[in-house]
Amino acid sequence: MIFRRRKPAADARETFKVLTYRQLMWRRFKRHKLAMAGAIMLVVLYTLALLADFVAPYGPTQRVPGYISAPPQRIHMWGPDGFHLRPFVYALDLKVDTGGFQRIYSENTSRMLPIRGLVGGHLFGIDPAAPGEPAATLFLCGSDRLGRDMLSRVVHGARVTLSIGLVGMSLSFVLGCVLGSVSGYYGGVVDTIIQRVIEFIVSIPTLPLWMALSAALPAGWPMYQRYFGITLILSLVGWCGLARVVRGQILQLRDQDFVTAARCASASDRWIIFRHLLPSTMSYLIVSITLAIPGMILGETALSFLGLGIQAPAVSWGTLLQDAQNIRTLANQPWVLIPGAFVVLTVISFNFVGDGLRDAVDPHGK
């Protein structure tokens, strides 16, 4: 509701600022600091994923031979010769401890590698090493056991992981809206059947179900087919929660006078559901979608982590985390957990945004 400066007794012409529902929502959302932070974070993450080829200094499978499991390189502004306006990293010196079969990396302070903008079609990077010199590397988040830049792989992996959340959710959204509104609007036997089906699906432990289904995907499927297969599997469970939200809302709305009014004007059921009921549930739907996307993202991560989701040459945050399955690797190269940090960041951001949206659509909110 909006407040008026003075409520006139007669309903004569009034002068006050009229805000649309969206403006009101946006205004309340902006007041939620954490949600705004989350929203900005998400915009940044999705922009990174969209522009992965440009943002990442390396390609997702590009190797720097020899430099395997290198630690993250620090960015410096102060060198031995004083302050540099252009940030730089020191080149890595590699020693192999033949006794312990370990690679020991150290910073070579005499060889500075300045970080330049727009190098070789990327946002930033370093000049390639001159012939004869040892390789120049820019591993801001370290490299993996094949000598690939972790940061670049995370940025590329974001494409799969972040988009699976959205694509999966839109599938769930369609299923949830249709089945939920049919269930709530018609009630009776139809409602009972749909609700029992939902209860059945929800009662199956999700991880084993996902595992069984993705194990059933043919191994020979190409990458994109597998991607959609996984999405389908994830949304098979995801629509249930949405359908319940939609059903609850529609149960509440279907006896409102404006629905009776439409019915008395001979509106068809389809007209009532799509013109009146679903638009009215939209704000609540957006909230539950925002809160359900993290579930999808976590699902993909879990499946890929177990090796059942996205398969090796393709990168996603889940496949990247496969390196972290081994405790020895974890102890020696803690940076393999960086994709996990990104997962946490994304999930928390979505939750904050969802929280803020929930407060924003609540008409009784302050």
């Binding site: 407040f3 400066r5 003075r6 007794a9 309903d11 409102q256 008395c264 001979s266």
Partner: protein
Amino acid sequence: MLPLVTITGLKTYFKTDEGNVPAVDGVDLVIPRGKTVALVGESGSGKSVTAFSAIRLVAEPGKIVAGRISLHDEQGNVESVLTDLDPCGKVIRRIRGKRIAMIFQEPMTSLSPVHTVGAQIVEAIRLHTDMTRRQAREHAVAMMARMGIPNADQRFKSYPHEMSGGLRQRVMIAMALSCRPELLIADEPTTALDVTIQAQILELLADLKRDYRMSMLFITHDLGVVAQIADEVVVMYQGRIVERGAVRDIYARPQHDYTKALLASVPSITSQRRRRLSTVADVTAGLSAADAAVQHTVRTDLPPLLSVRNLRKHFPLRKGFWGNVPATIKAVDDVSFELLQGQCLGLVGESGSGKTTVGHCILRAQQATSGEIRFRIGQDEHDVIAADRGRLRMLRRHMGIIFQDPYSSLDPRMTVQDIVGEPLALAGISNRGERLDRVREMIVRVGLEPEHLVRFPHAFSGGQRQRIGIARALVLKPSFVMADEPVSALDVSVRAQALNLLQDLQAEMGLSYLFVSHDLSVVRHIADCVAVMYFGRLVELADAEELFTNPLHPYTKALLSAVPAPDPGSPMRRIDLGVEPPDPTNPPCACNLFRDCPADRGESIAPAVLREVSAGHFLRCHEQNI
């Protein structure tokens, strides 16, 4: 007269994004000991906020920004200054409930649904006294009995949902009065109740005030109620007091324009029928629109537009596991009437009497169980109940419906032009331009501006929303309109405008109304013909003038006697229908209200039927009672 509470210069503001909203803007008020002060005003006038400020319960973002509220002792000395207290502190909590108690409009929501009513009264008692549990229980039962709750001892263990609205309100009063407060703040305590129950509660409150020698601050918008209960009247408008005085003076000689307008805009049970009501705008502009009767023609020469015969609508109750039906609620039970072209038939009854269901059956929003509904279009008569999809679509183009609640009847996500244009779109007018033209024409006709078309419902006041609802009902130019309590949710002055509009439109467009309402004075004002319903049955049907001057059925008499007249000189002589409502699955034949009904004496006689007792006056009763 010793004062109990004095309020001086009270200002309570609500902080919003658009700046401070002055809900109460400089109010001075004295509540004397042992008197009832009525705070009258329309919604948003600040009357409730004034009361809430007094007990320091103003909700966020409201804040008392100036003024002083003090509580006096029995000698009239200031005992404590309520405005100086911490609103959550111990001192105010001891005053609240013990010395100043409150009852609210909604007895449904002010009682907790998970505790028995007895436990809730006991809790209130033990919070403020040091009675033992046993003493408190005894006291609670005694209080409930004092409030006229039958079988108080057994009712003590009931849950709120097991009680009717009237009984719940009695429980609320028992709870409020259990600690013998000196001041009772009653915030619209009877607004949600039926008239007959309202009359009981008002009588009870007046009684209790005398017995307990307490003061009452009675908040209401109903001028009839004020006349019956108040000693002093304070009229509020936009956060300020515009007039105050003894109740007789206010009604006999109102001074302020706003008070005059309020009194003029109420149709009363004694005023001239079918005239234009003055609105606040008229009075402040010095116009006297009143007395200009609105002419409309009832086509007695034509066959009836709508005839309803033996209409029944039954709802099975509590379906058992095997699908057996132990009881049915007869929401509509054998209702017959005719509606002429251009006529307005008022359908009156208390909540649950089935009046709305009759209207819904006519529009086929609900499917009738049995009976016959015939609707005339031109020369042809159509059977509504048997109509198939296509015919129903055609029939509904000639019918409109107006709802009670101006908030839930408009889709909040649609603009005015989409809302009003919806029936056109559904009727197959696909040309957007043509639709828009007709919507614009209708919107102007109901008194809104063309620039309102692109706005959403939340930008309008209740009265304007109702105008949008009326525009939607009439945009297809129907011949019949079912108006379901169209003015009940509106403020008094807006109600007058809406009634004027409905009358004007009826005269201009030759409409027939089925005007469903619980408000007898409104029905008397607008209807040509009135039908009274009681538990799904039509008990009396007559010309409006005849029905109100010469009611025959005991239920009609009881109903009429319960309407509070806006005249402090005329005390109510109400006929009591009993505190507890009858069982709706087995409703009484209202005949048992006749003192000497043979059915009441246990004689087996033919069931009561609707019969014509004099020209155009129908009465449902046993043959023996005529």
